[in-house]
């Protein structure tokens, strides 16, 4: 089976990463923001896996596992905060979080 050139993998990862980034920038709903963050992190993971595949060792895959774990932790904390936020403001629109400025 001809292997996929690693450049293609990286480009795919970059596209995913940008998609996630755009999601973070454009979505007002904080849940979607968190999801977009997940996409970004996973895009990074993909890039690691691609690299790992190119060099044929496990470093990148281990990194991917780490990313998964930490993304999970982050999302856990984030969801906890979202619940608190919803309790207080009854909305998940991030624009309400603009009390502090200047």
């Amino acid at each position: 089976m001809p292997s996929i050139p690693y450049e293609h993998g990286l480009i795919l990862a970059a596209i995913l990463f940008v998609c996630g980034l755009i999601g973070v920038l454009t979505r007002r709903n904080i849940v979607f923001v968190l999801m977009s963050l997940e996409i970004m992190l996973n895009a990074c993971g993909l890039a690691f896996v691609v690299g790992s595949a190119r060099w044929g060792h496990a470093d990148g895959q281990i990194m991917f596992l780490m990313i998964l774990t930490l993304a999970a932790a982050e999302v856990a904390v984030g969801l906890g905060l979202i619940i608190q936020m919803y309790r207080r403001f009854h909305t998940v629109d991030i624009s309400v979080l603009s009390e502090m400025k200047g």
């Binding site: 690693y6 990286l10 990862a13 970059a14 990463f17 996630g20 980034l21 973070v24 904080i30 923001v33 968190l34 963050l37 970004m40 992190l41 895009a43 990074c44 993971g45 890039a47 690691f48 691609v50 690299g51 790992s52 190119r54 060099w55 060792h57 470093d59 990148g60 281990i62 990194m63 780490m66 990313i67 930490l70 932790a73 982050e74 904390v77 984030g78 905060l81 979202i82 608190q84 936020m85 207080r88 991030i94 979080l97 603009s98 009390e99 502090m100 400025k101 200047g102």
Partner: protein, 492 residues
Amino acid sequence: MTFDQMMLLLPLIIVTATPVITMLMVAVKRSHAVSCILTASGLLLALLSLLIVVRYPLQEVTPLLQVDNFNIFCTALILLAALAVTLFSYPYLCNLEDHQDEFYLLIAIATLGALVMVSSTHFITAFLGMETLSVCLYGMIAYPLHREATAQYPMEASIKYLVLSAVSSGFVLFGVALLYAQTGTLHFNDISVGITQGIADGPGSEYFVVASLLIITGFAFKLSLVPFHLWTPDVYEGAPLPATAFLATVGKVAMAALMMRFLSVSGVLDSPAIINVLTVIGVLSILGGNLLALLQANLKRLLSYSSIAHMGYLLIALMTIDSAITGDGSLGGEAVSFYLTAYVIMSLGAFGVMMVVSDSAHERDHIGHYQGLFWRDPWLAVIFTAMLLSLAGIPLTVGFIGKFYIFSVGVETAQWGPLAAMVIGSGIGLFYYLRIVYRMITPLDYDDPLPVAGIRDVISHGILLVLLVALVVLGVVPGGLMLLLESVVQSL
């Protein structure tokens, strides 16, 4: 892993054990005091264990962690700062209508993350450390979440920090992934070979520049350098004071040490493009931070802006640590280490004074709260003034020596632009630091009783005294520390 290597990791092990034991104690009996004491003793023990560590031959423990003089120095600094924050937290949290114990857990785990960061020479550990620190900080920042009156600020700060920090982590990760895909290694030392070649190659060097810049962007975010600084004031303001202090000291030290190690071994500083970028970021941070702080009335925000400027100063020294561009490369590293020490002392002192007069129910973070402090509580006022003057870089304080170091580095490497920015920035900086001093000497015409220092504040005042002594002693006779740092940096 040999026994020797095991012993080298003693501080890490102790700090790991601390939250575990504390958690177990919480399961047995919730007691604010006990949790605090346990955490503090754990940190203290870790600190003392450094005495043991230095008896063993320093070496790389697995490819992931490096224990050398620099690492030991940073570990000590972080542990001291964390210890101080822990002790400051106790009186602050006493009247919190919620469980206080978890805050200490978060401190301990965050410290662990920071310790991992300063020991890492490998992206896996670096990333692990960064994220451990960050995730704990989310919690610390949002800690007084259940207080109805003020809860939206910690929550807002935490969410902002969470999202932005995750984005910046994404940048770092993607950058690392790009490097990894090209070089096939995640170890700083090995990566440098690839980077040096890649950057030197000419065509295609943009790939490495972009990858490196992605990583640097992420680091710059954590150091809150312009233009990645916007989160800083909001997070500083929204977080409870101990969390702010922790973020401002441990957070910055860990990040700066990691960045220093990365820059010094990875070879990215060989690229003039990256030097240009760092110069621009440094100048912008110095000017932007100082200008933003100019008329700020909230002291937490003000100190956050000033931290932007201080990280800008630090960056001037940071970008010279690659020995390739300076004849005597150690000066940059020394300057960074010294400045970090100074910055930890000054920040802890400033936030410490604020913590002493505040509690979780009522934070005194407005400049007006400090009006007439000189006549209401001369002791605190003198400490606060000393800290502010040190931040402004006035002699007799450690801040002056720190600035002197940075200026020396700037002159040595002929960075006239950043030096000019530093002179201008210091001028602007004086204005807002002195504004606070002036408010403190302006008599107050109404009554605003400060909390009376009780028995539980003894430790806080003790720490403040220690900080003041350190500030002056290192400001007047810095020779010893300088010699120490010289040897520390040579191990890099």
